[in-house]
């Protein structure tokens, strides 16, 4: 790519935008976590109405409608003027996978945010990242009143590899959210040292 165009404003250093995905079930605290570490920005996108969503979304009176507007949030963390982290909270349901496909290309990695009361909600996300060999970690959002499980119990319940990090977090806390992101980047670094780049498209 002709990246080195010099006649553009501020074109001295490459502006690097890095994507991190945050996936998990509905109401698990994705937006809360993004908001804890970054300024939330709304994004409107479109979703083709699939059979899956037709069953759950009322479309009476709009039978001809094939797409619907979906609101999505993302957060922006400026690490340096030329290095910016973008956090995309991806809706958990499988019918949003068309959005994940775009988001996942070139992403640094992903965080699967899980609620121990509804662990099964995180299955689709875990499946997705495992199949596409996108490095990820699991963060357990410790909701008040939720029973504290040992992370090893969760590992067993989710059938996760022994070396996949599972951490506890409080999605409302900036420090905690930061720890989650740091854990992800550290995991990606370890993974990157272990395996040569394979031909993942």
């Amino acid at each position: 790519m002709d990246y080195g165009v010099s006649d553009v404003a501020g074109g001295d250093r490459q502006y690097r935008a890095i994507k991190i995905l945050l996936a998990g079930g509905f109401g698990v605290g994705k937006t809360t976590l993004v908001g804890a570490v970054s300024e939330i920005r709304p994004l409107r996108t479109e979703e083709p109405l699939t059979e899956g969503s037709l069953r759950t979304d009322s479309t009476v009176g709009v039978e001809g409608k094939t797409t619907t507007t979906v609101a999505m949030d993302f957060g922006r963390i400026s690490l340096r003027s030329d290095l910016v982290l973008y956090l995309f909270g991806t809706p958990g349901q499988q019918r949003f996978w068309f959005m994940w496909d775009e988001l996942a290309i070139g992403a640094l990695g992903a965080v699967v945010l899980a609620d121990t009361r509804r662990l099964a909600d995180s299955f689709p996300a875990i499946d997705y990242f495992e199949r596409r060999q996108i490095p990820f970690i699991v963060a357990l959002n410790c909701f008040e009143g939720a029973r504290r499980y040992e992370t090893e119990d969760v590992r067993l319940a989710l059938d996760l590899d022994p070396d996949l990090p599972i951490i506890l977090c409080d999605a409302r806390s900036k420090e905690s959210a930061k720890e989650v992101l740091i854990a992800l980047v550290e995991h990606v670094l370890v993974t990157a040292s272990e395996e040569p780049l394979s031909g993942i498209a």
Partner: protein, 123 residues
Amino acid sequence: MPSNDERWLDAEAGPVVRPYALTQGRTRHTGDSFDLVATVMATRIFGDPSSLAPEHISVLQLARVPTTVADIASDVDLPLGVVRIILADLRELGLVVISTPVVMAERVDKHTLREVLNGLRGL
């Protein structure tokens, strides 16, 4: 390109149709596709803004400093698909350059990972 088997949407189709009026009904952009965090930069000051639609001008103004597709879409508050079409139009006119960040080509390299790690620790 509109084709015969393309379903057309009537007035009941809801809010998704209206934004696409800005794109003359086009739902796909021209040229190479670009990532949500591809960097957009205006190439030069445009001489005759009157020939551009107001939305195109808004997008162009936002791109005076390097910015991403996602940031622009959020700032102009239009659906992503519409913003992509506007950006592709501007690219075709030579008014913006849309660059896929180098790190996007493959997995993020280790050097960048360490930079990200240090940046996060310093937040």
